[in-house]
Structures are given as structure tokens and as C-alpha cells.
Symmetry: C2
Subunit: 932 residues, 2 copies
């Protein structure tokens, strides 16, 4: 077999082949090939990685290739790998097709050893620099390639600083660092029981293998699972071997990271931070607080000019905001890495608008480059503009939005408390990749060290969570689980509020408000609306909801759940009367009271949505949901009875009570006054007597109504056919409201939707009611009412009978919550509590189908229903009103099967509008294998 | 518009066009045309009926046509309609395309009136006969055409008999009957407030219209709903106008009904009953007890010969057993009606075999003519042959099978009690069509009057319910709701047992036994097996079940539910230990105890089915089903605690007890000994202490396991993946049993089936377990185990993913119980209690989909699953193991979609075998519109 090529020099690698070379490797190749100043190097491919992981050894020939490429690098740099005189040092960095920042390993300064140290010293004339590089290398190599923990090194470093009276690492001199290097070597050798490898090629091989192994490390796996990175998106990591350049070679050296535009605001300005006389990891780790790039204009004007030129070349080449790393070695600017910049939503939206205006991207690209889910950030709560509270501390505004929560000082506790449903703010000196699970659990992140490109800031922005970084007024004691801000001491569990937009930190909880739309967002969404074929509706149940939906740009209401109106405290007793009714007359009396209330609600909604359709779903849930549970009623009845009995025996209190019920005695025994008061009230009003009866009647009804599987029980249209008077009342409320609107010159477009339909017979029965009521309303009002009549498609059989249902229904609306339950035979509440998390964790199901539409099962049913429905009624309007209707991936499928609209909660409407546009732009990518 | 033809003379009507002429009309035409002696007449078509029902008047021209045909009849008979000298009398009978015996109306002797009576008297020379005919006509016409109830006439008749000292109707002389006729006329005129119509054509038109109206009468509608007669099968009734012939013209006249073969046994003999000097209705109504046809050979040898010849001509023409009516008027034999004979199963089966042997029918027809559901009768329980109890009375063996139940004297009570789940025997003097709902509710029917062709006998045979008729030893008092048999008095609610095969009636309940297969049945079923493509398996859960399945001819076991094995009282505590286990080790300990038990069960089943496949379903139901309910546990715990408290206060008994719990005091207060005994046992063993703890642990577990919708919860493979040790134990039990069988030379064919699968990932996980266990078992036993691995298809998503599942599954088995629930979103228990009966009654759903497969919804899903599954795995074996698998209509669909087998309960296996053959023979009838 001809040998496979496993290694590519930066001059030869294909900058587009990220699957093979990883994102970083491909970019290094591309940058080299477009003439940027990249230190010489090469990439070992992801194929080598996969082969290594499969066989636990590098594939045959790979090391020979690597050696060949090293010789080429030696030629380009004029240095020698392992050369004692003029040693060549390299970095070995991971990099997969998908960016997974900080999730995999990197080794710097490789090639250093006892033999080459003298060469580096004489090369640089800087023994301190050389020993510093050496001790850094020993620690990184020890950790990454040999599994030694950081703690062992940190301890030695601490001890050394104490011994030398040094405050910062920088205060240690060459001798101290030489001493430290020896101690570090000892640490590693003690851990491994073997001598520290001194041969540079042995080091290189071990480093490449360690980088490869980090692909399957726990952190990396967690990250891929969390962000749903599949093998088709990234498979294995490449290892990039690159000549070391040093930002810590004195004051004409520096290192930094830059963004071609401001990733927090989107502003068109070179943005970033740098540290003079430092190595890159110092910036990223947040150990020293760096300066903003702007400062460089003063400090190093020539280099600043070079940097701006680099920035311009990157953007005009990539036509996307770039996040790049650079190092200045003795006055020469090297670009070490570039990738598409991760930005918050505000920045993504603004850069889309401005890059379009600048002609850098077309409108399509401007829409496609924004992940719709990112817009959630713009819809995250902020502090109200009117809020004038005094901040207890201020840090850097690292990721926008405000959040309140209980302070927690470590990721594990954050995860644990988060699972208990608590709101958490993770407070750390600085964060590391291993804290990632704490980020997932927290509402927001606060660090006392690190800049706006520190780990905490980058990750928080990626997740759209508020973050304040570098808040050095806070002194954290992790072991004691407390933090001091001046004289104030905060303990775990104390509530604080952080504002990631200003960097302010407040004690206690500050109520937040919804964000207003920016002009940029409005522009992007208007472009989206031009492109999209799917309309985006909102789910809204009240006039107030409807006003809110309008604000988010909803093009109508796709789901108005009438039962939500039933639950208000002033209505519930009437609804309960309706349920407790023994006769049709009693039931009608209760319904007569509900009619004007529902009618007023509908009118309010129609007014708010004037000119837009409002889809009203008739009563759906089983009626026992409007009654308390049996358990609660039993408890209340028992309690009332005890009171009653106690009243009877009032004369002999408290002894009788003790005998009747020791618990009740304990409860009231110490507070006889309270008991006497209760009993007096009971005697006066005899209210509890009636109350007992009512509660007992409720309990009987609850038992009558009790069902084994209420989800599959007497609900929806089944209820509407059993008690036609209920549906009739609701239909009347809708049509009378519409008639009143018509008289007032308001264009109302009600759509009456029947839930839980499984056969066209059901729809026919309701249609008869609708026709009867319509005639009555039109006669009484003297107005013709315009409306449509349609069916929820949430029962599997409705999908099968779509052709017949469409003979009657003028529209369909997929209720994918119920449809998903029925398709999987999963009860959502039970599944999410019992086995669904395990199914997701072990990969039996990729997603929770109640959040992301299950295309292969539920979606396939939907496609058939659409097809059969439109065979009968070609113009049939079809939408989706399940929760998944607000999820971009689901929206893409809805577009694919030809739905007319999606309906989702109001705050997701902007996301859905953008997703609908992207679905249209990417419609050709969807293959016939969608159901495989 | 050219006039439509609404009336056909018997000489011209097309004997095949039952939709137009009704069954009776078509047969009258056909009989006339093949030369049988049918009294002249004509048929008014069902089209005329439908037109009448639509417009409430006969269509234009119809009466003119009728008059024209009447003139032709006048010519043929030489009599005149309304002629005072020589009057022509006719009958007007209903008759639709489907036989609905007794459900619609008939009028006799029409044409009689004050004007024509003298003519009839002089014609016949028999005034008594004429007045008798007249009073019969008045009553029938009054009832049918004018809505007068029978009671009013019966009262007059009773009074007249009392006045004349007559015991029977026959004892009344001409004068009495003339008087009675006048009284009857008065009754009618009082009811209608108008003179009785005397014009014969007016009578005729009113009679035809009344017959047409009876199509929409309640009885007829109930019958059609009950027997699922749709418009496509029969639409409207025809009215047959036929010259009256009289069996009551003296001793050379008679009337009777015949069967060309014995409808109770199938024996090839002319069978039937006749009454000398009587009209047909006397036979049918059971008012006089008729003689068997055999007696005619002695009494009227010449007529008997004519009758046998008629019988032979009918059978050789129709090639089917005929049920015919005849009348002998003054020595001349007329055939009035013929239709295919309704027979019990035994007779159907025997005649199929014998008619084939005689060359009358082919094998296909022999199979097709038997309704498979009829075979249920052969599988109805009978009294054990060994039973020698003494009968309290004996009647006629009118419909075979034995039944026990509480006596009920009217149909309404029977229906009511039946709905409460009580077993009922309906006991009546005689039954009428309006009692039909009582038949549906009853286990069996007992009448004190009427023969084997009485209404009760015919209807009971049609329904396959045991019936004893003409048991005149029983004297019934309907008003007092009691019956006397000699000195014994039976009250409503007393239990009796009737044996419809012998006519015996026993006091109390006699345990019954399953029927053995007759040789005829074995023959028919062997023919069926030759023809059928579908195999028929049985559902069986124990070795005993398996033996039974074999006896019914099952070709394997299609569903062995392992959880049934868990429910035995010796196993349940172990299963509960498994459930209560807090650790995997505890759970494993319980499973280790279950393993040998399950293994022994499987071995027993494999042995019983040696050579045939046995499909074992792994644990399916949610595990809380193996624990008592929370309610029950709470009750038991409270009870045990009371006992415990009482024990503590033993000294102060019973007063303390009274205070602690008045209910407990009442319960034990009168039986202090019992309480002391309980308490002593408690003190001795302290068992209740442990018991309380165990019950409390159970209660906690019940709460943990409680689910909102258990049907859609943690069950089936979800459970198997959560607790793999459970499935591993079951798989081991199956494979070890198979290995042991193999060693003993028994061919075991286990098939391991996974329930509730919704994604192929689940199936893969179980496959891994199976592979592991197989390797272990094969190593330990040194035997290779042969088995197949497959999936239940009972989750909708499994249908959608059938193509992927078939990559792993070697067979599919449709679990149509669960699949139906999920497709309809109906929880069976809830639906059948709450709304499904209403859905069926109001026609929203034709059938209960849990009994008859819903082809249009569930069936359509099945078809897709079969198609996609076989695209992946062309040889995929597919079966059905839901309850519907034993229903002929569902079996027909299973054949249509290409299943390999159906599996049903053992007693339905013979039905399924015949249905499978019919499905094959009728496969071309299934159209592409099956899902419309």
C-alpha cells in the first residue's frame, strides 16, 4: 500500500480542508499562502489522530514524515532541532474542524532540554528568558504528555517566590528559575518514575500523541456533547507544529490577541489586548491584566501600523470577523493563528449590517452568518434603564445581560445547586476549561482576574451568559467559601446581581427588564422577513401577551390557549362550578357567566392583533386540571373536619383535642388563641361547613374524573363532543367578539381550532356547532363574521387521516408537543424525570425530542400529513404551534416540508424569523436522506 | 323525465338484484321464474322506499304502477281486489337486501273490509275463517299503519274469551270473532279519530308506506347498528305484495317453515315445523306449539312428498341451505319465501363438509360460506359430559351451549344488569323483536312457549347464545318478577343454568367445560390451513397455556408475556424484592432467585411446542404494576398501625380503642376475641412490625415510581436499558432453557422480542446483552443455541423507523393494543369508560378500535412499517400479537398487507385459521381505497 500523507507544511496544506487539517491548521496554511508572516511549521492530520486513537500508536511512516518536515523548518529558520548552539523550538497545538476553545491540549517551547538550554541562552543573551521558557515547558509537557497535575508545580513556584521574596513570577531572576526548573524536573520524574525525556524528537512524538489523546479527554467529550458536535462535523484533532516565536524577549517583544472588530459591540475597530514581554498563555490565562490594543498606538506606533494592516488583510481575505493571535519578537510581528471571531449577538448583528454596507458580504451571507439562537442574548433581561442602585464593585463588561443568583465558588457546587433548580452566579478568581460544567449551570459568571478575552469572558459570551471579568475589588477565599468586597463579606448562597453590559456588581437581587430591539437587529430581521417563506406567529393567551407578540414582530397569533384564561383566580371558581354541575342547566349557568369574560378577552386580543390572524384553540386539557388534586382536597377536608370536631368539644379543650388528634393538638396546642379564633370564625359564619361540602363535592368529582393516563384521556374534542355546551360557549365568545370588532371597524381574523382530533367525524360535529352559533351571532349582530375553521394535528391518527380532515379543515396546526408524546409513547413529564436524560447522555437519542423536533419520526408523520392534506385541499394552510416551533433546526424542517408558518413564544419570535430566512437560503442543502 | 320503474312482477324481477328488490322480493321472483308454486304478486322497489323516506310520499307514478300490477294479479287469480263477490286478498311484506328477521313490518289479509267480507264468506263457506282473517287484519293494519299498540287489542281479545268461556283463540266462534272485529275497528277509530279505511287501494298504499317507514324504525336501526349493516349492504326495504293463501282453511290446510337441512346439527334432512289449520304468524310467534315436519309424512303423505321435492329443488338451485316458508291451502302447497338458512356453527360446519362431499359446493365456497365468528359457538362452554345433575325442567334444545346467570324477566332489566357486568339469563314466555337488546345483554335465553323456529330460537342461534325454548313447565309471572316450576319459585336474581344442547334447565350454577373439536370442524380447518397464507399462532404465557394452544391448532406461540409469570403468588414477593432493592446487588440477588423459575417455565413451554416457534417478550409493563396501589398500602399500613396502638393500650380495651378509632372499634368491638387474637399474634411474632416496614418501603417505592401517564412511562425496553440486569436474567432463562432442551433432543425455537422499541439504538443495546449472555450460555452448556431476535412494533415511531429497526430485528410483531392507543391518543381504560361507547353509538367511530383493527389509521401505519422493514430485510417475518389478531376483519387486513402470521388467544385460533383462509380466497376484493 502506498503510504498515506499524514503531514502537510503550511505552504502546501489546503486552507479549505478543515476536516483533514483542523481549523487552526487550515488557517495557518492559508495565512502562510496569502503571505502573512507566520512562523514556519507543519500540520499532522486528523487522519493520523484517528489512526493513533484506534491503534494506540502513530501510523507507520508518520514520524518519518514529521522528521522530514522538521528538517525543512530547520532550513527555513536556520536553526537546528536539538542543536545545542542554535536550537529550534516549536509549539505543538491541537486544532479540530470545529473550534473547541481550550478543550484540548497545547505544548510550547518544545525542543528545550539540558542540551539545548545553553544554545538558547547564547542565542538570546538572556538566561532569565531561557530558564523561564524551560520551566514553562517542563510544566506543560509534564502535565499534557505525562499527566502531572498543575498543583505540584504551583506549590514549587509558590515556595520559590516565598523563598526569594518575589511577589510576581516576573520578579524571579534567572537563578531562581534555573533552580525551579530543576525542581520541576524532579516533580515530573517523581511522578513518572523515569528520567525526563531529553531527546527533542522523543519529546515531539510524545507531544503529538498527547495532543491526539486530548481529543478523547473528558473535557473535549463534554464540550462536543454539549454543543452537539458530531463526527460529521469534526472527527479527530490535527497537531500543528510551529516554530516558537517569543513575546517575552524583552520590551521590544509582546504578545496579544486581536479581533478585527469589537466582539462585544460589533464596532468596526481593531480590538484586543496585549502584554509586553510576555508569552501568549499569560494573556489567555488572565494571570496578568493586559493593555488594550489602542494603547499600542502610543507605545509601539510602528508595530501598531503593522497590526492594523494585518487586521485589514485578514478581514478582506476571510470576509468575516477574525479572532487572531500575534506575537512580536524583537520588533517583528508574527501572526500565529486566526479563526472566525466568536461574538455576542449584538456584535454579530451589527457586523452583519455593517459588513453588508461595506460591501464585504452580501445580504444572504449577512443573514446566514448569525446563529439564530444567539439572538436569545439580545432578548436576555437587562437592568432597567431607570435603575440607579449603587454598585458594590465594578469589573469589565465581558458578556452582556444582567443576572441575579446565589453566589457559588466552584463549578461542582454550581452544577449541583443548578440541578436543584437554584439560580447561581459562579464567582471565581479566574476560570479554566475544567470549570465548563459550572458555566452551564450558572446564570452568570463573575471573575476577579482576567480581561475581556480571558477564558471566562470568551466562554460566557459563547453561551450568551452575562459575565463580569477582572473585578479585582473582590477578594475570593475558595476554601472558606467567601469573598470580601471592602468590608462586606459575601458567603456561598448570598444573592448578587451582575450586569455584564456595564461590569457592575450589586448586592441582592435587582429585578431585570426585557431588552429593546436595536436598529441593527431590526434591519437584520427585516432582511430576514424579505427572504423567508415561513411566517412567524406567536403563542399568546391574553391581550397583554398579544401586545408583547406584536413587539417581537409576530405576524399573527398561532396559538391562543383558551384554558389559560380559565385559570385566573376570578374565573377558576366559575369554571369549577361548571365542572361540579350535575345537570346541563347548572353547567349552562356557569358557562353563561364565563361567556362575557372570554368574549372580552378575545376582543382585546383581536384589537391588539388587528389585521392579523388569531388562532384560538378550543378547550383542550382534561377538566380535572381545573380542580385541586385529590391529595390536597383530602388534606383540606381532614383539616376542616378537625376544626369542626374541635369546635364541638370546645368545653373540654385541650384534653379532648389531644385525644382526638395528637398532631392537631401539637399544631394548635401551643397557640390556643389561634384555635379559639378559628373556631369562633367557624361558629360565626359556618363557612367551613359549606366549604367542607364544596370540597367534598370536588373530591368526588376528582375521583370520577380520575384517569389512568390523562394525557390520552377525556380531553380536547372528546370533551367538546361530550359537553357541547362548553364548546358552544367558546365559539360564541369568539364570534361575538369578532362581530363587535367588525362593528367598531377593527379587522378581526379569528381562526377556530379544534384540539385532539383523530377522525373527521369529530371535526364535523364541531363544525355543526360552529355553523349554528355563527347563524345566531350573525342574526343578532346583523354582521357577517369572517373566520376560518381548522384542526390541530397532534394525534397520530390525524396525520393518517389528513386527507379526510382537509375536506373540512381550512387549516392544520401541528401540535408537536402531544404529537411527539404519542409518536414516541413517551409521557413528557415521566420521560424527562425517569429515563430521557439517560437516553440523551448515552446517545440513544441525540436530542430531547420535546425541544428539538424529531425529524425522523414525528417529522416524517408531518410530511405525510401535509402531503395528504394538500392533495385534498391544495391551498391548505399548515403551521406548527408546538414548543419546537421556536427552534432553528426544527424551523428548517418546517420549511422543508412546506409549512406556511411556525408559532412560538414571543421572545423566540426574532430567532424564528432569522431561522426562517436561513431555512429558505439553505433549502437546497436538505437531502432526500433526511429520514435515514 | 321518463318514469322510473318502481314495481316488478315476480315473473319479471331480476332474482340477483337484492339491492333493488330486497332479499325476499328477489327470491320470490327467482322462485316464480324457476317454476315453484308462488302465489302471484309483485315487488315495490327499495328505490321507491328511499324516495318515500326522502319526500314523505310515494314517488309520482308508483301508485299507478301498483294498480297496473294488481290488475295482472287479479287476472292470474281470477279474483278482484275489493270485489264484494270474489275478493282478492294480499299480504304486504318488507324485505331488504340484508336479512333482518322480524325487524320490519308485515301486513296480512289486506283487501278485507266490510264490503268484501261477505265475498270471502261465500268464497270459503267459512264465516269463522273470514272473521278471524278480518280481526287479524284490523289488528295488524292498526298497529303497523296507524300506530295502535297491541295491548289495546289483546285486552279486547282477553275480555271476549272470558265472556265466551274460551280458553284458546280457536275456541271463539264466528259470531264472537265478528263481534271482536267490530270492537277492533272501534279501537282503531278511537285511536286515530277517523273511520277505518275501507277502500282496498287506500289500504294498500298505507300498507306499502308503513312497510317503507319501518326501515327507519328504532328496532331496525338498532339491528343494523348491532350487525354493522351499512348503506352499501342494504339501503331501504322493498315491499312485496303477494296474493294471500290460507293455511287456516280447515284440516286440509296448514302452514309451516322448513329448513333444507337441520339448522341445529347440519344433518341432511328436511327439517321444520307446521301447524294444521293455522296462519304463518302462529308458527313464528310461538303461540301454538307446532309439529315437526316428520309428522307430516304420516298425516299428509302426499303433501309431504311435495314438500321434499320443493326442498330438493330449492337446494339444487341455490346450492345453499334454505330457510323457507310454505302454506298449504286446501291441499295445494305454496312456497311463500326462501332465504339462506341461518344456522348455528355446528350446522354450518357439517353442511359445508357434506355439501362439498355431495358435490353441491366447491371447497372454496365450503370455506367462504362460514362466518368465522360463528365458530365461537363451537368453542362456547358446555356442561361436562360427566355432569349428572337433575334438571328442574326440560324444554327444546333451541341453540347449543350452556350458560349460567341470574334470572331476569324483561329485556330492559337484562340490559341494565348486563351493563353492570352481571351474567344474565333472559326468561320470557315468548320473545318479540322488541326484546332484541335483552338478547345482546344475556348469556342465554329461556322461553316457556314456542318451538325451535320461534323468534327466541332463531335470534339466539344467530347470536350464538344458548337457548332453551318451549319449556312449558315454567310458569312465568312477569309483573311479580317470578317463575314457578312445580313447587319451586324462582325470583329475579336467582341463578339458573340452561343447556341449549339438551333443553335442560338446572337450578344454580353448573360449572361448564370447553367444547371438543368435531370431526367436521377438524376437516374444515384442515382445508383452511391448506388455503391460508397467514399462519395462526397463539398467545400463551405458561406451559399449561401452551398445551391448550396446541389443542386449538396453533402453529406456534406468537406472544409469551414473561410478566404473567411474575404474578404467581410464589413469585410476586421475589419480584417485589427486586423492585424494592436499593442496590444492584440486592436486585441481582432477587433476580438470581427468579432465574431458575423462569427457566423452568420456558422449558415447559418449549417442550409443549416442540418444533414450533415460541416468541418471548421481555418484561414490558411499568414495574409499579407488581406493587399494590398507594391507596391499598395506605389502608393496610393504617390498619396495622391501629393494631399496634391497640396492642399498646391492651390494658384499657375496649375504651381506648373507641377513642383511637371508632371505625376499628366497630369492626372489632363486637368480636373482642378476634382482636385479642390478632394482638397476641402481633406480640408473639412481631410480624406486623416487619410487615409495616415492608409496606412502608413499598409505599415509598410506589410514590417514587408513580407516573402521570404510566402507559407512556418507564416501561418496556426503557426499563430494560435502565436495569439491564433484569433483561439479562430473562435472556439467560430463555437461552438456558433452550440449551437444556437441545441437550434433551427437543427442538426449541425461541424468539426473543423487545417491547416498546422506538429507536434502533434501543434494540442495539439489548442485542449487546443478548450476545453476551448467548456466549456465556453456549460456553457453559457446550451447546449452540438457535434463536431469533426481534422487535415489537407498538410505538408509532417504530413504524416510522421500521427500515432502521429491520437492520437489527429479524422479525417484527405488531402490538396493536398499544399501537392503537398511541395512534388515537386514547388510553384504552379511560376511553372505554368515558367516551368510546358514545363515539360508537353516535357513529363517530364505527368500531371499537381495540377490538377491530383500525385499518385507516393503525393499519396504514402497519403497511408502511411492513414496506420499509422489508426494503431493508426482504425476508423479514412480520406478525401481529394484539387483541385484534383474532378478529376476522383484522385478519383480512393482515393478509392484505402481507403479514406472515397472526397471534391470538387460544380459543380464537380456529376462528383465525378460517379467517386466514377466507382472507386468501377473497384477497382480490380488497381495493386500493382501503384507506379512504
Amino acid at each position: 500500500m502506498a503510504g498515506k500523507k499524514y503531514v502537510y507544511a503550511f505552504e502546501e496544506g489546503d486552507g479549505k480542508d478543515k476536516m483533514l487539517l483542523g481549523g487552526k491548521g487550515a488557517n495557518l496554511c492559508e495565512m502562510t499562502q496569502i503571505g502573512l508572516d507566520v512562523p514556519p511549521g507543519f500540520t499532522v492530520t486528523t487522519e493520523a489522530c484517528l489512526a493513533y486513537l484506534e491503534h494506540s500508536r502513530l501510523p507507520a511512516g508518520a514520524m518519518d514524515e514529521i522528521k522530514g518536515h522538521m528538517r525543512a523548518v530547520e532550513q527555513k529558520t536556520g536553526k537546528g532541532f536539538g542543536d545545542p548552539e542554535n536550537p529550534l523550538l516549536v509549539s505543538v497545538r491541537s486544532g479540530s474542524a470545529m473550534s473547541m476553545p481550550g478543550m484540548m491540549d497545547t505544548i510550547l517551547n518544545l525542543g528545550l532540554g539540558e542540551k539545548t538550554l545553553p544554545g538558547l541562552i547564547s542565542q538570546t543573551g538572556n538566561p532569565r528568558f531561557a530558564y523561564d521558557a524551560y520551566r514553562r515547558f517542563i510544566q506543560l509537557f509534564g502535565k499534557v504528555a505525562l499527566g502531572v497535575t498543575d498543583e505540584a508545580f504551583d506549590e514549587k513556584m509558590k515556595a520559590m517566590k516565598a523563598k526569594k521574596g518575589a511577589k510576581q513570577d516576573l520578579d524571579l531572576d534567572a537563578d531562581a528559575l534555573r533552580e525551579l526548573s530543576a525542581e520541576f524536573i524532579a516533580v515530573v520524574e517523581k511522578h513518572t518514575g523515569r528520567p525526563f525525556p531529553d531527546d527533542p524528537y522523543q519529546q515531539l512524538q510524545m507531544a503529538v500523541e498527547a495532543v491526539f489523546r486530548s481529543w478523547t479527554g473528558k473535557r473535549a467529550q463534554d464540550y462536543r456533547r454539549q454543543f452537539r458536535i458530531t463526527k460529521g462535523m469534526a472527527n479527530g484533532t490535527a497537531a500543528n507544529v510551529c516554530t516558537m516565536v517569543f513575546g517575552n524577549m524583552g520590551d521590544d517583544s509582546a504578545t496579544g490577541v486581536g479581533f478585527t472588530r469589537n466582539p462585544g459591540t460589533g464596532e468596526n475597530q481593531t480590538y484586543g489586548e496585549y502584554l509586553v514581554n510576555a508569552q501568549g498563555e499569560d494573556v489567555v490565562a488572565g494571570i496578568r491584566t493586559p493593555k488594550p490594543i489602542a494603547a499600542m498606538e502610543q507605545e509601539m506606533p510602528d508595530l501598531y501600523r503593522q497590526l492594523v494592516e494585518l487586521r485589514n488583510r485578514l478581514e478582506s481575505h476571510y470576509r468575516e470577523v477574525q479572532d487572531f493571535e500575534f506575537t512580536i519578537e524583537r520588533g517583528r510581528l508574527y501572526c500565529l493563528q486566526t479563526r472566525n471571531g466568536k461574538m455576542n449577538a449584538q456584535a454579530m448583528v451589527r457586523t452583519s449590517v455593517e459588513m453588508f454596507q461595506e460591501g464585504l458580504v452580501g445580504k444572504e451571507q449577512a443573514l446566514l452568518r448569525i446563529n439564530p439562537l444567539l439572538l436569545e442574548q439580545l432578548l436576555v433581561p437587562t437592568l432597567p434603564p431607570s435603575f440607579k442602585g449603587e454598585a458594590m464593585a465594578q469589573g469589565l463588561p465581558a458578556s452582556p445581560g444582567a443576572a441575579s443568583g446565589k453566589i457559588v465558588f466552584d463549578a461542582d457546587t454550581a452544577e449541583m445547586r443548578g440541578k436543584l433548580g437554584e439560580k447561581i452566579v459562579l464567582v471565581r478568581e479566574e476560570t479554566k476549561p475544567e470549570d465548563i460544567h459550572g458555566f452551564f449551570a450558572a446564570q452568570g459568571i463573575l471573575t476577579s482576574r482576567g480581561g475581556k478575552t480571558s477564558h471566562a469572558a470568551v466562554v460566557a459570551r459563547g453561551m450568551g451568559k452575562p459575565c463580569v471579568s477582572g473585578c479585582d475589588a473582590i477578594v475570593i477565599d475558595v476554601h472558606e467559601k467567601r469573598a470580601a468586597v471592602g468590608k462586606t463579606v459575601l458567603h456561598e448562597g448570598d444573592v448578587i446581581t451582575i450586569d455584564g453590559s456595564t461590569g457592575n456588581v450589586y448586592a441582592g437581587e435587582v429585578p431585570t427588564v426585557e431588552a429593546a430591539f436595536s436598529e441593527y437587529l431590526a434591519t437584520v430581521l427585516s432582511w430576514a422577513d424579505e427572504v423567508a417563506r415561513l411566517k412567524v406567529m406567536a403563542n399568546a393567551d391574553t391581550p397583554r401577551d398579544a401586545v408583547r407578540a406584536q413587539r417581537y414582530g409576530a405576524m399573527g397569533i398561532g396559538l391562543c390557549r383558551t384554558e389559560r384564561m380559565f385559570n385566573d383566580s376570578d374565573r377558576l371558581p366559575i369554571v369549577q362550578d361548571m365542572i361540579l354541575a350535575d345537570t346541563v342547566e347548572q353547567r349552562q349557568a356557569a358557562l353563561d357567566k364565563l361567556l362575557p369574560i372570554q368574549r372580552a378577552d378575545f376582543k382585546g386580543i383581536f384589537k391588539a392583533m388587528a389585521g392579523l390572524p388569531v388562532t384560538v384553540r378550543l378547550l383542550d386539557p382534561p377538566i380535572h386540571e381545573f380542580l385541586p388534586t385529590a391529595q390536597q382536597l383530602e388534606f383540606e377536608i381532614a383539616h376542616l373536619r378537625h376544626l369542626k370536631n374541635a369546635a364541638r368539644s370546645m368545653g373540654e379543650l385541650p384534653d379532648t383535642l389531644k385525644l382526638i388528634d395528637p398532631d392537631l393538638f401539637r399544631e394548635y396546642g401551643n397557640n390556643l388563641e389561634k384555635l379559639r379564633h378559628s373556631l369562633d370564625r367557624y361558629r360565626e359564619s359556618r363557612l367551613e361547613g359549606t366549604l367542607i361540602e364544596r370540597k367534598e363535592a370536588m373530591l368526588r368529582k376528582v375521583h370520577t374524573l380520575s384517569e389512568v393516563n390523562p394525557m390520552l384521556g377525556h380531553r380536547g374534542v372528546r370533551l367538546g363532543i361530550t359537553f357541547p355546551e362548553i364548546y358552544r360557549m367558546q365559539i360564541r365568545a369568539i364570534l361575538e367578539a369578532a362581530a363587535e370588532c367588525a362593528k367598531e371597524g377593527i379587522a378581526a381574523h379569528p381562526e377556530i381550532m379544534v384540539p385532539q382530533v383523530c377522525t373527521s367525524q369529530e371535526l364535523k360535529r364541531v363544525q355543526v356547532l360552529v355553523d349554528e352559533v355563527r347563524k345566531e351571532v350573525e342574526e343578532t349582530s346583523g354582521t357577517k363574521v369572517r373566520f376560518e375553521f381548522g384542526s390541530m394535528i397532534e394525534v397520530v391518527r390525524a396525520c393518517m387521516r389528513a386527507g379526510q380532515l382537509a375536506e373540512i379543515a381550512e387549516f392544520f396546526s401541528f401540535g408537536t408537543n402531544d404529537l411527539t408524546q404519542a409518536t414516541f409513547s413517551f409521557s413528557r413529564e415521566d420521560a424527562e424525570n425517569k429515563f430521557l436524560p439517560m437516553y440523551n447522555e448515552t446517545g440513544i437519542l441525540r436530542d430531547n425530542p420535546f425541544e428539538v423536533l424529531d425529524v425522523k419520526g414525528v417529522g416524517r408523520l408531518m410530511e405525510m400529513a401535509v402531503k395528504w392534506g394538500r392533495e385534498t385541499r391544495p391551498g391548505l394552510k399548515v403551521g406548527i404551534c408546538g414548543e419546537q416551533g421556536g427552534h432553528p433546526e426544527s424551523i428548517r424542517f418546517c420549511h422543508f416540508v412546506g409549512l406556511n408558518y411556525v408559532s412560538c413564544s414571543s421572545p423566540r419570535v426574532p430567532i424564528a424569523r432569522l431561522a426562517a430566512a436561513q431555512a429558505k437560503l439553505r433549502e437546497n442543502e436538505y437531502g432526500a436522506d433526511v429520514y435515514r
